[in-house]
Amino acid sequence: MTQYAEGITAEIVKEHGLSDEEYAIILDRMGRAPNMNELGIFSVMWSEHCSYKSSRLHLGKFPTKGDKVIQGPGENAGVIDIGDGQACVFKMESHNHPSYIEPYQGAATGVGGILRDVFTMGARPIAALNALRFGAHDHPKTRQLVSGVVAGIGGYGNCVGVPTVGGETNFHEGYDGNILVNAMAVGLADADKIFYARGAEAGQPIVYVGSKTGRDGIHGATMASAEFDDESEEKRPTVQVGDPFVEKKLIEACLELMSTDAIAAIQDMGAAGLTSSAIEMADKGGIGIELNMDTVPQRETNMTTYEMMLSESQERMLVIMKPGREDVAMRIFKKWELDVAVIGQTTDTGRMVLNHHGEVVCDMPIAPLADDAPKYDRPHFAPEVRAQISAKDVAKPAHMGNVLLSLMTSPNMASKAWIWNQYDRHVMADTAASSEDPSDAAVVRVHGTDKALAITTDCTPRYCFADPFEGGKQTVAEAWRNLTATGADPIAITDCLNFGNPERPEIMGQFVGCVEGMAEACRALDFPVVSGNVSLYNETNGVAIPPTPAVGAVGLIPNINQRAGFGGMKAGQILLAVGDTRGVMGASLYLRVIEEREDGGSPPVDLAVEKVNGDFVRGQIRSGRVVACHDISDGGLACAAADMALASGIGIKLAHEGDLPMHGFLFGEDQARYLIAADKEDAVAMLQDAKADDIPLMVVGLAGGDAISVNGAHNLDLVKLREAWEGWLPDLMNKVGED
């Protein structure tokens, strides 16, 4: 006979997302039946979102250490060494479920949350990026979601004054019922002044700072750990509401507090709010916590302990101070007109005790809520291996220029200026390359130095669906390539793993395959994972999203004046391709757009070749020979060339001979390739270097004219291309009366 406290039933336990087995463990760990407050706390802490119960086992496969890693996964964000006593702090996180339900606030609070993860660690946020996936462009909900999400990202980021410098936006029918909003933040700190959630000891005061606690976002973490159905819109009250003005003040106040020596440990209140921030700091310090709920700043009257502990009100932080230093926090937070209150103290009991209205309303052990939370080895199987498709298996198109126009104006390739023009990309005055610039990664100067960070987000879900392992490898390799193409030394990544329901073995198989593929690429490229986030249950009525393990990557450009973009090419300059072109067409953009199919294997990624080719490219950029450099990815060599032509305002004459069918040469998606433009004498020197190093490098064209052509035919006029490429998204967003 299962035991329940007064007022609690099996039905209530189920509504809290806890299985019978999990409830049995709770009874065991508590030694009695939990009351409503305790049940609520178990519910959020054991949610997939907070506990990583399905994924933790596999996340251990990622390499997380390296010469440059100061802090790997497990803290609020990852920290890497960028030399001269400076550190870069970064992380990417999903806000998928709330953004679908309430796009503006969902996306806005996604930005707010990831910024807090970064400044919690003592870093000033210096850049924001995002990775967005929407449903089919002509799905009836898509336009509303795009405009809401974009306005939300801009509304928050612009106001806090952190430039939104890059990102990617994809459209695919696989996201019709579950969009993905992944936000990344990057910050800068002194390497010896990083703040952690660990480090608290018993007998220290706990200080609450930021906004008041309201009734918003209650059970947000639990909502984000379940599938959607037709009634999901009713979950709108679980979405939090952001206030970027408070966040801006919170950044300044926290950084000011951090410049003193008063903090023992600090944690932002993100998912599961006060509950998870208190528990994480207590667990990491191996201590207990006692809170007086009467002293929690409250926005509404008569709030219960349950509501306060589960609220996800935004812009709040919990600080454990060194004893006797509370006054420092009081003074600084009052100056910034923010709420601040001592709400409790740390203890040596290993328990969380909550007092409200003079009564103990919760008394539970901390360990089962954190490290000792359930961990599942979910059954999984890999998808069937798909056959590779080469250009010889694909019908030859009649006019290559028309194909190129179709690819370049397809939803994923068309210009996204309509989106990024709504983001302040220049505030802080250190942006050297953002979405508007022809650069494979955003470039942000390290303030007051000649160093710069190269930052990118990437993922190719088509490949991950076709072959999770190769797709996982490719995602990491492409991010590494993006950084390399700017001339940066790639350092580390953060991941944001978006998948469907892990209780389905085929979905779990996608997850495991992608993680293992990513881990292999991280090892081969010396590109460790330093932070990350997992978002599961991205499904509606049993239909899952394509596997989308997005990656945010950071590299260092030692001298900002020695970098490359993919514009600035001039007539007469030579176009060279680094890497072998064999015409791999499986799961390619070509098949999807031109033949309306997505079959075939993912392009194989040879990581050793990837490394060698990339190192060659980086060396050539630093030697000053490279005028322009672009990685070759979606749509193959021809689309990379078209990007360069558009960015430079000059045509390109491509030349192809040999056995490989022309459409394989132009549109094949072989990996480990780059397109480089250089003056003739530099091209000759590069060819000599490549020969000596055994790097595949060949001349593929010449800059000049006002069209893109192949072997003197198949012309695509640049003016016509630009008009269609720039016009696609504004036409979609501004059209009237068709939905």
Binding site: F245, W420, N421, D424, R425, A429
Partner: protein, 220 residues
Amino acid sequence: MKSAVIVFPGSNCDRDAHDALKRVTGQAPAMVWHQDTTLPEGLDFIMIPGGFSYGDYLRCGAMASRSAIMPAVIAHAATGAPILGVCNGFQILAESGLLPGALMRNAGLNFVCEKAPLTVANSNTRFTSAYAGRSDLTIPIAHHDGNYNADEETLERIEGEGQIIFRYGRNPNGSVHDIAGVMNENGNIMGMMPHPERAVDVNHGGTDGLALFESLLGSA
């Protein structure tokens, strides 16, 4: 040149303004907190930076224009000292009544960030003298409420008096007469939506903002 930057809660271009001033004048500006009621002695120049003072709540610039430091700024303006408001700073100066006109929501309703082509409408001012002989500039904009408007009579007057300093080459926000920057009648207070402090380094993608600060330095 001794300068000051006024910092409100929500200002987010204060550091950029500081750095640009330091770069051009060789002297770091004083950072003045909104709750102060006096300014440092002997100021040659005051800059009111961009951002979202008080979250842009109520109306952009409305609350900042009534903050504790503003009486001192207004008194200093009356002495004829130069004051520049950029973006939110422009909105604050307009809300304070120090500049003619008002800034409304962009005509397209969206936030707009782009490197805006500008023309110098009057280079015979203490803010723009170093632009003499140059007409076309590119300076970044980033705002949601930069749609300048004024009544017909005011427009006629400021056009006639040469108080319009910058115009957009391609109107991004619906501003009347393509106005991007205006000056007061005395010629010592200017507001502009474009951000000259974001165009002072080659890595910004352009240095067309430098001459503005150089003009001020020359007139100080």
